[in-house]
């Protein structure tokens, strides 16, 4: 039928062809019934197939909250602790970035320094602070080596910083540190404050 040499080449070609299939990393592959896969409604964090979003600017599916928005959803209800979080956050939001002394005087931590809360604060510290401030708050995190200028919590100038000061720094930033209020909920920021107090003693 075929010359054996041609046959071998053909076979090798078929095998190579089969193996090279479907290796394009930019391709999701075949989708069966794509209209069941892709949301009709606009989903956040997703590219839209076909029509782009014509309602929002720049085709975005999400919009920025109005400036100064305080998320109230988490703080509603009769729970006095949640009310305290909300009140503190409302005050903190109205304090200008450079008025750290005002925060020192007007903010207080609604959470008690129980071992559980400090432990929860440690978990939050590890997620949001440790890569710069270091495991023990000595300013020796892996990122700090690149970023430079990360303080030591237990230094003379910082070891007496109170609740309001630390909360202000996390929320609004200070010196080289930029604001982290958008990333961490108010409750978790107060927990971090508890743990930073522990590190100040070290």
């Amino acid at each position: 039928m075929f010359n054996p040499r041609i046959k071998f080449v053909l076979l090798a070609g078929v095998v190579a062809g089969l193996m090279s299939c479907g290796s394009d990393p930019n391709d999701t592959g075949t989708e069966f019934a794509p209209n069941m896969y892709h949301s009709v409604g606009y989903e956040p964090m997703t590219q839209i197939q076909g029509d782009t979003n014509t309602i929002n600017p720049l085709g975005m599916n999400m919009r920025l909250p109005v400036k100064g928005t305080v998320a109230r959803k988490r703080y509603t209800g009769s729970d006095s602790l949640k009310q305290a979080f909300l009140a503190q956050e409302m005050i903190a939001k109205t304090i200008p970035n450079d008025s750290i002394s005002y925060s020192e005087k007007s903010l207080y931590n609604p959470i008690a320094a129980t071992p559980e809360n400090i432990e929860a604060g440690k978990a939050q510290y590890e997620r949001f602070c440790q890569h710069c401030h270091g495991e023990a708050g000595k300013g020796d995190g892996l990122v700090a080596k690149q970023y430079k200028g990360v303080p030591v919590y237990s230094s003379d100038a910082l070891k007496t910083m109170n609740d309001g000061h630390i909360y202000h720094v996390i929320t609004h930033g200070k010196g080289r540190m930029w604001p982290h209020g958008s990333q961490i909920s108010s409750e978790n920021r107060w927990k971090i404050v508890l743990y930073v107090h522990e590190l100040q003693k070290q």
Binding site: F2, N3, P4, R5, K7, L11, V14, V15, L18, M19, C21, G22, S23, P25, N26, D27, T28, G29, T30, E31, F32, M36, Y37, H38, S39, V40, E43, P44, M45, T46, Q47, L58, M60, E126, R127, F128, Q130, H131, G139, L142, V143, Q146, Y147, K148, G149, V150, P151, V152, S155, D156, A157, G175, R176, W178, P179, H180, S182, Q183, I184, S185
Partner: protein, 402 residues
């Protein structure tokens, strides 16, 4: 002669001792200064001339007399208030941000800090030399990703070659037996090979073998392709900015939650907004063209169009917080070793079977969660196995499809 030599030795010795003691006190000062500097000054000042929050301190001992520095460190506001011109110029240059006073520092302590700053500037080559190879080692390691497929291909190729050799040797033995004594062994190698190949092609067993092999391979490829429909496993799209998880999550060990802010709190893990990038990149790698893309996006108020990698079909509901916060799963349980990926790839299949398998096998993370107390109690009444996700409706259709 002897006497002369001994005085020479003595004077050399004394000189050496003097020198050693001087350099030792200098080193000791610098070491004390280093601790003091790192604990108190490094948050705002660099030992080089780079401005952090306050001015870089390189050559400060030449710029200002030591008495002035001591006064300034003890109480900067007083020096400014005294009308000192240099102090006021400095104050105005740094937007009237006053330095924290350090009244407890003694003069020798301040001198030791200055000694450390000078020592750090004498030998600036050491840290630079250390930094260069560190940057170099990151690059070659980056190319190793996606090596799995290559290993597989090479392995298959080797197997094929072995099979070919085996087949050829069988054929040659067979032809040797059939043509024994005809003297064909003396024929040239190529001719023999061609003859053997011809004989091979004529052999019906070999023909059937090849046909079966081709059918099997083709069948497997078809089934694989059919199973792959709608599954994005291995999807690793190119992103608008060449962000490396291997660098950020691996080398620098930045927690996933730092950028993916919603992962413990909401349905989606969230792709970070540009302000989170800027927390570090306001200072780090400012010149990189990839980082410039972030700056451009912020300046033009445009979103960065990251390409979503993991995307469940719209018909299935999934919530991150239920799995991470309540279930206590780690990110890598589903996403694989992200901290080793230069470009993020979908490692798990994210099929329904994959979800169900896990729901069948996984124990409910009920410890310390009062919500599950009653459920565990009821379950333990008539079962000896621990409470699994499937026992609390983890296999119900409407749990995910509604």
């Amino acid at each position: 002669m002897f006497c002369k030599k001994s005085t020479l030795v003595k004077s050399l010795l004394s000189f050496a001792i003097l020198f050693a003691s001087v350099s030792a006190t200098f080193a000791q000062d610098a070491a004390e200064g280093e601790t003091l500097f790192k604990n108190n000054c490094a948050a705002c000042h660099n030992t080089s001339d780079e401005v952090l929050v306050g001015p870089g301190l390189k050559g400060v001992s030449e710029r200002r007399p030591i008495e002035w520095i001591v006064k300034w460190v003890h109480n900067p506001q007083a020096v400014i208030a005294s009308g000192d011109k240099y102090a006021n110029d400095l104050y105005n240059k740094f937007n009237k941000a006053a330095m924290t006073p350090y009244p407890n520092f003694t003069e020798p302590q301040i001198k030791s800090i200055i000694a450390y700053i000078d020592a750090a500037n004498v030998a600036p080559a050491a840290p630079a030399a250390g930094a260069a190879p560190a940057a170099g080692t990151a690059a070659p390691a980056a190319q190793s990703s996606g090596g799995m497929l290559e290993v597989l291909l090479v392995g298959l190729l080797i197997i094929m070659v072995i099979v070919l050799i085996a087949l050829l040797s069988i054929v040659s033995t067979l032809s040797k037996i059939t043509t024994a004594g005809e003297g064909s062994i003396e024929a040239p190698l190529l001719q023999r090979l061609a003859e053997n190949a011809k004989a091979l092609a004529a052999n019906s067993a070999v023909k059937t073998g090849i046909l079966v092999l081709a059918l099997l391979l083709g069948g497997k490829a078809t089934i694989d392709a059919a199973y792959g429909v709608g599954i994005h496993q291995g999807y690793a799209p190119e992103q608008p900015i060449k962000f490396s998880h291997k660098l950020h999550a691996g080398q620098y060990q930045i927690n996933c939650n730092y950028c993916h802010t919603g992962v413990y709190a909401g349905k989606g893990a969230n792709v970070p907004s540009a302000n989170i990038c800027m927390n570090c990149h306001n200072a780090i790698k400012r010149e990189s063209p990839e980082i410039q893309k972030i700056y451009n996006a912020i300046e033009n108020n445009e979103p960065i169009q990251w390409v979503r990698v993991h995307n469940l079909p719209d018909l299935a509901y999934f919530n991150h917080s239920q799995h991470t916060n309540v279930g206590g799963l780690e990110c890598k349980n589903c996403h694989g070793e992200i901290e080793k990926m230069e470009v993020v790839e979908q490692r798990s299949s994210l099929t329904m079977g994959w979800c169900i398998d896990c729901h069948r096998e996984t124990d409910v993370n009920s410890k310390g969660n009062a919500y599950y107390d009653k459920l565990v109690e009821v379950h333990n009444k008539d079962s000896k196995t621990p409470l699994k996700v499937q026992n609390i409706g983890g296999l119900e259709c409407s749990k995910c499809h509604y």
